[in-house]
Amino acid sequence: MFLIFCLVITGNQIEVYNAPHNDGLIITVALQSDATIESPKILTSSAPPASPANVEVVDRPNDAGGSIIITWTKSADDGGGRESVKQYLISRSTSIDGEFELMGTMDKGAEQFVDGTTEDGTHYFYKVQAFDGTLYSEPAMSEAVASSGQWFHTGRINMLIATLVLSSLVLWFIRKAKRGEELYIRPISGLEAVEDAVGRATEMGKPIMYIPGILDMDNIQTIASMIILGRVARKAAEYETSILVPTCRSIVMSAAQETVKEAYLDAGRPDTYDADKIRYLTDDQFGYAAGVDGLMIREKPGAIFYMGAFYAESLILAETGHSVGAIQIAGTAHPHQLPFFVTACDYTLIGEELFAASAYLSKEPLLLGSLKGQDWGKAIFIALLIGGVILVSLGFTKIITWLTTG
């Protein structure tokens, strides 16, 4: 074994390092100004920081692969000792005596690093070194580890159970409904009023306006809104009342056109369908609000439906609708917009009622069955909440872990 030392002469001092990694003892030697050196005098000395320990490597759980978690115990000089550690350096190699490549650094205090650049199936060795800004500690080595993807997310078992329970309940009640059993669903005044609103608009000789929110078709509220639109459009077709649908997204416009067209066909009135009544205004939130407000003022609809996802424009629209004297029914799953609708509209579908609307309006046993299943799911959830509160109050906190999704 060879030891290579590096001498750095600065002014009247010589600094000695252990090369090539600059680790080892530093000895600073003062040179006598008259060059009569009898013995070197050690002025200062410092040692490298203590090594981190217990380097453990594991394949990152519940991922698609390509990732390894490296953990270690902090150096004795990190948070104690000489307090000299500034960083940890994490290096990787495919063989224990091969060349290690620096993968990343972590600031002092860190005890974990995630290497997200691994190739699945390849075994890697990791070394972790503490660094004090000048010197490196002895490396702490890991065992070999290989990354791989998992076929099941173990942190989501509780969600799987919840999904299965809820789905089973829904399917069970659908089956019950299929067998002809009568299912009681509580009356929802906002939905009871849909037919009245369409009838009122018809009597007044005014159109109906249906506003499907401002989000795109990838939002579940917009999808629910399209389903309700189908029911409302069918009633409008039966009453031979014009229906205006200003949209904020092009795809919503296309979907609304198809939905209304199908509803008119279904009602046996395809001749009264007018595609131009379902129009695209703009993607811009307040541009859309201005456009819809303008339509309301000009067309003076007898009934206005706000169903879907709304943000700050909700009250601007609902107050304008109120000012033109329309009967207004709103529904949204955005809790922050609900107070605005409750204030400005005649009826408001609160949260889940928006999703129940289609089933409720259709009165079809299959759809009502799914509502019943949803209600039972809610009952189970409430029981879990109450039970959880009691258990946690009694000190059984494990239930929090069970109910937390990973």
Binding site: D63, A64, G65, G149, W151, F152, H153, R156, M159, L160, T163, L166, S167, V170, I174, D216, I220, I223, A224, M226, G230, R231, R249, S250, S254, T259, E262, D266, D276, R279, Y280, D284, F286, G287, A289, A290, R298, A312, L315, I316, E319, A333, P335, T343, A344, I350, G351, E352, F355, A356, S358, A359, E364, L367, S370, L371, G373, Q374, G377, K378
Partner: protein
């Protein structure tokens, strides 16, 4: 087949999206991103439909000189100017499009947003009339929260901010969470109905 094909596509797409939540392994882990990319591509094509619809409706309105047709002229001019400016000279900082966007579009949007303050005032005036016990409760809560949020409330009684925070943090939060739980169940139930093909309203299903 016209109605079966969308149902099959919906079932497969919906089931795969549920599976990807529980299966982190590839290719399931990439599916959401792939679907998002597809959605963006479809959106771009649908945008052409939207713009086509906009031009068709407003050019007809101008042609037939229907009431308020000049609004359509303004809209068409605005569309053409922004379109030409964007395509012709780009949309970077300092471009004509950028100038129009920041000096016309943004102020107009802000103006619409600012109107909200007046609508809040008019809606509150109607809602806070103490006609029923519920409305009275709403009125009292609103006054307490408002007093807790403005400096004057703190000046009158330094506990008003605490009262306001308590109303927002407990009764209000409890109500919001109850609504959120209901929404979550509603979303699951609606998704199941659509995936299983029970809900077919969008396909003119009976």
């Amino acid at each position: 087949m016209k109605k079966q094909a969308p149902l099959i596509i919906t079932f497969i797409a919906g089931s795969v999206m549920i599976l990807q939540y529980f299966i982190p392994h590839r290719p399931f882990s990439d599916i959401q991103q792939i679907f998002n990319t597809w959605f963006l591509i479809i959106t771009v094509f649908a945008m052409i439909l939207g713009i086509g619809n906009l031009i068709k409706i407003h050019s007809e309105r101008v042609q037939r000189q229907r009431s308020g047709w000049w609004y359509s002229v303004v809209l068409m001019m605005g569309f053409i100017v922004m379109f030409v400016a964007g395509i012709g000279w780009g949309i970077e900082r300092g471009s004509f499009f950028y100038y129009l966007y920041w000096n016309m579009h943004i102020p107009m949007s802000s103006t619409m947003f600012a109107l909200l303050a007046f609508f809040v005032a008019s809606a509150s005036y109607r809602a806070f009339r103490a006609r029923t016990p519920d409305a009275t409760l709403l009125l009292v809560s609103a006054i307490l929260v408002m007093l807790g949020r403005v400096p004057l409330g703190n000046y009158i009684w330094d506990k008003f901010p605490l009262v306001g925070d308590w109303i927002m943090g407990y009764p209000n939060m409890a109500g919001q969470r109850a609504i959120m739980i209901g929404i979550a169940f509603g979303v699951v139930s609606t998704s199941l109905r659509i995936i299983l093909g029970i809900e077919r309203t969008y396909l003119s299903g009976k």
